[in-house]
Symmetry: C2
Subunit: 515 residues, 2 copies
């Protein structure tokens, strides 16, 4: 993997200025294999969970979902759904229950060189912020995302073991939309052996990206379909609507055996009822509709249950995050995910406009809501600002400190007689210290978490060193990572084949997104 | 109460520039009555909890605790402890178990005008940062604390319902140490009906402060002893030592029926073993020793189980907070508190030197560790910097946003048919919005949490308004609170009696702290 190789090389370069990044490298747990050890709150009684689930089924059956994609309507109707009023698909509740039960309860995502990521109801994975049109850093300020930024952000994601899959960090707006999928997929595959994303913006783009993954991983079509190599995020158009490319994406990914993360974006008070329970009922109904479409297309197709519910600021209608409502909705969404037994993707976020204290607090509050709720994949966990309109280089680093800390906090706590330490306590006189005990000497190098950028010096030392605030240390950190970055090293023949493919498809006009 | 009256007055002054503070006032739950609804993690098996408890008892019996206070040694020996080597008190394990069982499992703290705060194993209370020698704000910078700052910080604490008791925010270093307890207690009692603290720096100071509380609350000695009117924090000198004023404080408070929060400050790797289990074993032993001293002095005396364990940075020996070790130790400490069934005080904190992103993240991580661990009182939850060497006016406000959000997130989630909202969902066409539904119209004003200082405008609006960062909004907020502050209004005769007492005692030379 990129980060491991990079780390090894850095070790060999100690004393050449790379030590800062190295010390912040991969000590501690293998972050992407850590399980969530917390007990999720049950804000709903079992009866209430049943009521919400039953009401969601009733919404699907009696009110229906407007499906804008004709093929999707056809296969849903062929499976037993009822079409009314042109595009309104009504889902019989037994059909939904039967089909949702076919979705796998656990799965493995595969990358290059044997890299694997396990997903089940206890996994805890983080993903960087994604889908942002803008990028910002403290020197260059806020501006539209470019391909150069996309390269940097893919490299930064490759560096951190905490992030097992790549996120669609920013939209490179300097690349034409018919070629953008080719360039972003090429960069992901050239940079990291981690699991790449694909946007579902029409079958043309999706098929191009599938082919590029087959080239990079050395797979034929059958081997590709046999395992999970990529994922997409499906957002329904809440309330109760699935548009053309989203429905197409569910079908394309299901047929190819790749993962659709079906994520209604239900904001209480705007696109969803103002109550948490109402918002979750709508979100649950839409997720069940998407999962049913995937299973009708290809029984057993891998999906994730998405719930990205928060509330809006009722004064402006803008989405907000890290609120009590966001936290409580996460608690409830986790109960619904466990009710249907499908791994669950949630998200944190912030409405803040700068990588400042508010942005830290809101991101943390949302993060703990998702972690505590039992989310198996937490999206937008690093770098997001402005409810996703901008990604910040510095906040990306600063947020990862929290993700790593939370993951490390899930490690078991030793309770052997040696850890309980009667003999060590006996070794130190009243009022003394434990620095020189046998136990401390044996453990001091590895016992504690090593921070990425937290500065733990005292005020005097910190001031003498220039009183550098966190955001400036974060800048130094991401720059050092990029300076020292060494890519995974895709085999030369595959890299060339990938480039050839991109060149050919660009010459052919690429593929335009579908509306 | 100060904050309620203030709030009422502000309501009458709308349009006179006080609206900003008003909107940030007391909407939402009565924060100080909220219960913790989360399920605490069990990082230790029941057997491991028993092992740690048994090892702590063994430490007390076989290794002993050095008690520097002669009277405390005498009453412990009279109760059955064994004195060796001059000051080493060895506690028979049955004595400890029997005495700890006498401590109350729940209690009510009383303030002025019927103000009451309930403590039991599900209560969740926050307290501002305390004990800081320095104060900082973004205009005046970092400087030694003064009495004027102490007044301001007491007023700010009085304003927020989230803080049911006052903390010893900063040391007013411009007041002589023999008069400091008189002035700080006077200011607390004049400012707020909330529960004041007293430092245990010798019986002379403590008795002065008890008398001042009796004057302010209109109590005779018997009525004072009958209920809890004040508290103190007892820090043992880890490892295994209780100094003269701390032991005296335990005895003085126990005799007066007031609360000792017995808090070993066990930093893994420094004053305690480097393992979480070892650190907790030592901390538990010291807390049990202090609780035993309180119960031997006065059976049934109110105490809290304190555990303020984190780790040190092994490179510098400095205490750090919000680390994985801090979080895990909080999880374990909660299990030990529940094992003995005594309400538990924990703390968050940060080693950061500025109210920046690191300070927000570390404070939040520590806070969630304590909340999740089930702490009943979380100290240093607002304003702390530099591991407690400095209190920040701005961080005080910014941290309270998180405390309020967490508390509000504990509110029950409605799951009535009206909340689940089938009819409301039916009311909105696919792709529409819920702004105008009957449900939204009925609830929009009160459904969601109203932030103190979070800015939820979009980037353009925020930039046009001057791109004000959180720390600057926090400054405007604390200034507005102080500008509009109206004290509780202690009855005039009591206020005068209090002043007379302070004047007389100052003229008599006050009371010097005891070492």
């Amino acid at each position: 993997m990129a980060q491991e190789r990079t780390s090894t090389r850095r070790r060999g370069r100690r004393g050449q200025g790379a030590a800062k990044v190295m010390s912040a490298g991969l000590a501690g747990p293998a972050y992407h294999t850590v399980r969530n050890t917390l007990t999720s709150p049950e804000v709903f009684s079992e009866d209430a969970v049943e009521d919400i689930h039953a009401t969601a089924l009733r919404v699907l059956e009696e009110l229906g979902v407007r499906v804008l994609n004709a093929e999707a309507r056809d296969i849903l109707v062929a499976a037993g759904c009822v079409l009314r009023d042109d595009m309104m698909v009504h889902f019989p509740r037994d059909l939904v229950s039967d089909r949702v039960a076919q979705a796998p309860r656990e799965m493995v995502w595969h990358g290059g060189d044997g890299y694997r990521v396990e997903f089940d109801m206890r996994s805890l994975h983080f993903m960087a912020g994604g889908g942002c049109p803008n990028i910002t850093d403290i020197d260059r300020g806020r501006r539209p995302g470019t391909l150069a930024d996309f390269v940097d952000l893919t490299r930064l994601q490759a560096h951190f073991d905490t992030l097992p899959a790549l996120s669609p960090s920013i939209e490179p707006q300097d690349v034409a939309v018919n070629e953008r999928h080719l360039q972003t997929t090429r960069i992901q595959l050239e940079t990291a052996g981690k699991v790449p994303w694909i946007f579902a913006r029409g079958s043309g783009q999706v098929e191009d990206c599938f082919e590029m993954i087959r080239i990079a991983r050395g797979l034929d079509e059958a081997a590709f379909k046999e395992r999970i190599w990529t994922y997409t995020i499906i957002n329904t158009n809440s309330p109760r609507q699935i548009d053309v490319p989203m429905a197409q994406g569910i079908m394309d990914f299901a047929r190819a055996g790749q993962v659709s993360i079906i994520t209604p974006f239900c904001l209480s008070g705007a696109m969803a009822p103002i109550t948490e329970a109402g918002s979750l009922t709508l979100s649950h109904a839409e997720a069940l509709a998407g999962i049913t479409l995937a299973q009708v297309t290809n029984p057993g197709a891998p999906v994730m249950y998405g719930a990205f519910s928060s509330n809006v600021d009722m004064r402006s209608g803008a989405p907000v995050f890290g609120t009590p409502e966001h936290i409580r909705t996460n608690f409830g969404a986790g109960q619904l995910a466990r009710h249907i037994g499908i791994p669950w993707r949630s998200a944190t976020g912030t409405a803040a406009n700068a990588p400042d204290f508010q942005s830290a607090t809101e991101t943390q509050l949302g993060l703990w809501g998702a972690v505590l709720g039992g989310a198996n994949l937490i999206v937008h966990a690093a770098g997001w600002l402005e409810g996703g309109l901008t990604l910040s280089y510095e906040k990306f680093i600063m947020d990862l400190e929290a993700c790593r800390t939370i993951t490390a906090a899930m490690q078991p706590v030793e309770a052997t007689p040696e850890a309980i330490s009667f003999e060590t306590i006996a070794e130190v006189a009243p009022g003394g210290h434990f620095f020189a005990t046998e136990q401390t000497m044996a453990r001091y190098a590895d016992q504690f978490y090593t921070p990425l950028i937290s500065d733990w010096r005292n005020f005097g030392q910190w001031q003498e060193a220039g009183a550098v605030e966190t955001v400036d240390r974060a800048q130094a950190h991401w720059r050092a990572i990029l300076d020292g970055f060494v890519a995974d090293g895709l085999p030369e023949d595959r890299r060339e084949a990938l480039l050839d493919f991109v060149e050919r498809r660009c010459a052919e006009g690429g593929a335009h997104p579908v509306d």
